[in-house]
Symmetry: C2
Subunit: 200 residues, 2 copies
């Protein structure tokens, strides 16, 4: 099997959430796997001097409208969170804690965390909420909490974020196929053709 495609995303990103519903099927269709690599968009925004979309005049209003319309377009259920955007350190640490043991279950946890925030309006910037979501997914609450507070997991998370910034991920989702970067769920049509043809 060819190398996995890298799926960088932030747990507070609407377009990352929509992409999370599509990336594995897209990869599988072309005999590939997707490696899920959550990172912290807030850190990337500092590096590039960007602001979160909702705080940009005019563009922010459009963005709020486009989040919902794009979710409908892609057939993904979506409920805009009451608190938006949020810091995504807590879910990202929970992910990397589990990913070190079982990447497949870490993906399931990521899906559950995305659903909690973008369907159930649960503020996953709160570590207690992350633990509760993980427990509902069958993980042991104490183990999740201990994992998120483990310095080794914090270091793993920081290294993953640094790696994402190092390869130039400035937005979410950011997908890399054999070295070729694609920003946005609106580049999935280009990713599809790239996977099918090996480049264009």
């Amino acid at each position: 099997m060819a190398a996995p495609i890298d799926f960088y995303f932030d747990f507070s990103s609407p377009y990352g959430y929509v992409a999370s519903h599509k990336i594995d099927a897209l990869a599988a269709k072309h005999g590939r796997e997707a490696a899920w690599r959550p990172f912290l968009l807030g850190v990337a925004f500092k590096a590039t001097g960007q602001q979160p979309l909702p705080s940009i005049p005019i563009k922010g209003d459009y963005a709020r409208h486009d989040f919902l319309r794009s979710a409908r377009f892609h057939g993904v259920p979506y409920r805009h969170p009451t608190t938006f955007p949020i810091a995504s350190v807590a879910p990202t640490r929970a992910f990397y804690w589990l990913n070190a043991q079982d990447p497949k279950r870490a993906k399931d946890l990521a899906r559950a965390l995305y659903a909690a925030y973008f369907l159930e309006d649960i503020d996953t910037s709160n570590a207690d909420n992350v633990v509760a979501v993980a427990a509902k997914s069958g993980l042991t609450a104490d183990a999740v909490r201990a994992g998120m507070n483990d310095q080794a997991v914090k270091d793993l998370t920081k290294a993953a974020v640094d790696k994402a910034l190092g390869i130039g991920a400035f937005g979410s989702p950011y997908v890399v196929v054999d070295g070729e970067p694609f920003w946005g769920v609106d580049r999935f049509d280009q990713i599809e053709r790239w996977l099918a043809t090996g480049g264009f």
Copy 2:
């Protein structure tokens, strides 16, 4: 025939240029016409505090790569201009001068101005170059020059730019279908579905 769809674009915008190759066919396919409405992205950027893509760290490098790849993806020839971005007042004034007399010829002039900049590397921020492109398209050089310098045309251009900002155009292309706004040539798939279904 249903109301035209509004196609807002900037003469210095790569994605606007790519969109200009697609918008009329897209509209016609659904029994519509496209009204071309050039505006000044620099003025919109001031209103929203945005910077031109190439001057944003990291994101700028990606953008330069994406301009070319997106053009290839859409089958549109593209040569990245040596001077980029440029002020687009001169071509916008030439457009509105001609548009007041003959909107169809104004579209042809817009296509010629886009081709000059994005294929032949002609700096269309320069009024003399705009006049030369227009003359090559069969217009009388002196008439074009006089038109661009006419205070009434300057006022018409300013009013068109104000109107674009008034409806919230913060990027290029910005397409409005029956009041529904779409930003980017990467929303043309959504526009297509919107035109086909009347909304989703």
